[in-house]
Subunit: 215 residues, 2 copies
DNA sequence: CCGCGCGATTTGTGATCACACACCCGTCAT
DNA sequence: ATGACGGGTGTGTGATCACAAATCGCGCGG
């Protein structure tokens, strides 16, 4: 029959482990410098060392984790130079993505972005750093999905991944009171169809927070 | 004693396999769509399936290879849309790298670039597509190393990796006669310290070849 | 002559094991 | 008290195996 062409009823074990760890890293749930062991990860996810090793190596390949000379993996502690580079990459990639999304940004998208922005205000009110990061990335991803540029978006997500543990440290340090100002500028530029304004707003939003990390 | 702190006398097996396959893919020595098997790779490098699997998965994570739904890995056949995206990424990243390298580009670097350019002419004369790609990437990498931006360079190399198999198809199709024109423009802009000219020359060089792939 | 189905073979997945090395911590000599 | 040395534990690496699924090829029926 072959109705219901469900691609794979049981997702591969290494993929479950990978996804679980990936979102944890990207949302900043793991502190910089924390060590991860193969047997520990395996025990936590109920698998043997083999899938755990594959998941960890994949994350290392994407820059989400670092591999010490002796093979130990841990979440990275970024130098100031590296943070500056990653911020520059975010600016380059995300400005391009926003620019490509602009002609496709209809009112429904703008409404969703506004709703997510309200959610960010909630997370700020409850002082939830992980929730804040998750919603913030959701805001950006929702916009960039409209760009119809999966390769560029994947590269941007890789940068988020590398910044994940550090971002947690940032948002934990800074005591925010108000929702991000530049998100409102982004929405306004989208409504007005103002491309230069959009580029500037995205660049500012991306650069803003990371500047105080390198201080 | 611990003199000669050689970090690792015997590079790990999975790393040997990874490096071997990576340069092969980046230089376009593997045709698009070609399938790779774990046991085949293992036999070729004299290792078991375990390191071969790690190397392949790492390359998949970097986008150098694609993973079919059934777990088979093969070198990717890129769609026109994806090629356009990757070309745009090359333009974004490499213009930034060149711009950062410019203030650090002394005469010794320009001499080396000129020498590499001469080598490219040799490869063209002998109709060696793989050699041409290797030298061409060497030209760009030599310039970008001066940017002192390892994270951005790594991302650019990832893009090269994804384009590798396709580039081979490109340079095999086009019957080149003369060394790349835009390389001379890049060198001239470096000598003159002309940043806008350099940005334009790099963007043109990167975009030029890939335009005829999407035709 | 072509299309279909079935079986043999190949392939990826994940578990387990042996081994070598790194790391940690207590002990001992200075 | 402090330093180096030592062994025990933990950790990554790579080989091997059992299993399930996919793939390929052959032969049969149309």
């Amino acid at each position: 029959m072959l109705l219901n062409p469900r691609p794979d009823p049981s997702p591969a074990a290494h993929d479950r482990v990978y996804r679980g760890l990936r979102t944890r890293v990207m949302h900043g749930e793991i502190a910089p410098g924390q060590a991860l062991t193969l047997r520990g990860i395996g025990r936590e996810f109920g698998v043997s060392m083999t899938p755990a090793r594959e998941a960890l190596r994949r994350l290392v390949a994407e820059g989400a984790l670092t591999l010490s000379s002796s093979g130990r993996v841990s979440t990275p502690e970024l130098s100031d130079d590296r943070i500056e580079e990653l911020a520059a990459l975010r600016a380059l990639l995300e400005v391009e993505l926003a620019s490509r999304a602009l002609p496709r940004a209809h009112i429904a998208l703008i409404d969703r972005l506004t709703a997510i922005n309200a959610g960010i205000a909630d997370e700020i009110a409850r002082q939830d750093a992980v929730g804040y990061i998750r919603r913030n990335l959701e805001f950006h991803r929702t916009l960039y999905l409209r760009a119809q540029a999966p390769a560029i978006l994947a590269m941007a997500e890789t940068v988020w991944l590398q910044l994940g543990p550090t971002m947690r440290a940032l948002y934990g340090r800074l005591r925010r009171q108000d929702p991000p100002h530049f998100h409102r500028l982004i929405i306004a530029a989208l409504k007005a169809g103002d491309e230069p304004g959009l580029r500037l707003a995205v660049r500012s939003d991306v650069t803003q927070g990371l500047r105080m990390l390198t201080g």
